[in-house]
Amino acid sequence: MFTKKLACIIGGLGLAATVTLAASTSIMSIQVRKAEIRETPSYLGKIVTTMAYGDKVTVQSGNGAWMQVLSAGQSGWVHSSALTKKNIVMKSGAGAQTTASSGEMALAGKGFNSDVEAQFKNNHKDVDFSWVDKMEKIKIPISDIREFAKDGKLAAGGGVK
């Protein structure tokens, strides 16, 4: 009797895993603040559209590190490190917040967030964030990076596998 129940549980776990994986492969969420969707699987590719944190995409195919995705009728490529299978729910509506503890769901802004950072700053007046703020603004345009690579006879494209 006990063996039967254990077999049932283990079988159930296997089935649950299969169902979970099958159901979660087609729709993915953007897990970074901003992600560029490109015409080709390369950082050299022309930008088709830009997506924001929590936006959903339908995965059409994968090419190693790059995924071909569809969103709002536009198709393009994005690096897989910008994507998650979790359903990222933006902070709106109590219902979303209630269910967000599920492993398949992540509530944007939950946990260590700007409120916690503000509290930390309040407790640690000696820690100065001004240079981190400046540092974050340093973003070299991709056109400059391309030029830099070309001038230095380096590879170009990035995100290769």
Partner: protein, 299 residues
């Protein structure tokens, strides 16, 4: 009696490191509860505790990693004055952000950013999420763009491999998960926010103490060197640039110093490991030397 077998069985399966831990646990406890092996309350309790154990550093989303990284970087930069040189910082970010495109993790929540610290000590720190800080002393160990690329690729390797997040004591994240688990349905306030901030502060201390004082385990340093070799090869740099930097570092390090002398394996040990991977070949690249020399003026 049966429940004493079922509960450990579920825990063992879950703790084995499956990617869908929570889902599997919920499924398993659901079945166990449905068959009367455990009660619904027991099933809920197992789900809660497994969730807390399973969701250690893997449970940190890139967004939360970003907030951790910002605060770690701010703490480091409050103790190490930045070197305010726009041309050199732009060059550093051009090399670094170019290299990041070739890592296994080119996309982090807020992207990769690089800054110079105004110190003759030989130091480089990678805060989670891609905040990378390199001292003037470290830059003085670099005699070419390849060597500089080697340093930056090594730090990108630490970010890619989540070494900073792994320095966080698991109890901090379990504490955070407990607060969030009970308060998921409403906005945090008062004591809960204070408790979560405490878990955050402890996490920051764990990381800064590791990167600034004790250093990572040797295996993490070798892993970061290995990741650097992959990044450098993909990007078109000769990975021997990292070896040439380490040879210079060996000459520049002061015995007993509180910098890389204390926190990293000896350069010769890293060189020995790297040589096994890449052999040895000159790393000179005349086409990039001029821009390197120009950009590093004023170091």
């Amino acid at each position: 009696m049966k429940r004493f077998f079922i509960i450990p069985a579920i825990l063992c399966i879950v703790l084995a490191g499956c990617a869908t831990l929570d889902k599997l646990t919920e499924a398993g406890t659901g079945i166990a509860a449905a068959t009367g092996v455990i009660t619904t309350d027991e099933a809920k309790s197992i789900n809660r505790s497994v969730s807390a154990v399973g969701k250690v550093f893997e449970s940190i989303t890139p967004e939360q990693e970003y907030y951790i990284g910002r605060t770690v970087a701010a703490t480091i930069l409050s103790r190490n004055k930045p070197f305010d040189n726009r041309a050199m910082t732009t060059y550093l970010n051009t090399v670094g952000q170019y290299l990041s495109l070739y890592s296994d993790r080119p996309e982090t929540f807020g992207g990769y950013h690089f800054l110079i610290m105004d110190s003759d000590d030989i130091n480089a720190f990678a805060a989670p999420g891609g905040f990378i800080m390199v001292s003037r002393g470290m830059l003085k160990c670099c005699k070419s763009e390849e060597a500089l690329a080697g340093v930056l690729a090594h730090e990108i390797g630490h970010v890619e491999l989540n070494h900073g997040l792994q320095a966080i004591d698991k109890s901090r994240l379990t504490a955070a998960a407990t607060i969030l688990g009970t308060e998921a349905a409403k906005n945090l306030g008062g004591k809960d926010l204070a408790d979560l901030t405490k878990a955050f502060e402890n996490s920051i201390s764990d990381i800064t103490a590791t990167v600034m004082n004790s250093g990572y385990a040797r295996k993490f340093e070798f892993q970061a060197d290995k990741a650097a070799v992959i990044i450098l090869n993909r990007a078109g740099y000769n990975p021997n640039g990292l070896v040439s930097m380490l040879k210079q570092m060996e000459r520049n390090l002061k015995p007993g110093g509180l910098d890389f002398a204390k926190t990293h394996p000896a350069p010769q040990d890293r060189i020995a490991e790297l040589t096994k991977l890449i052999g040895s070949a000159p790393s000179a690249a005349p086409e990039r030397q001029e821009r390197f020399t120009d950009s590093m003026k004023g170091l």
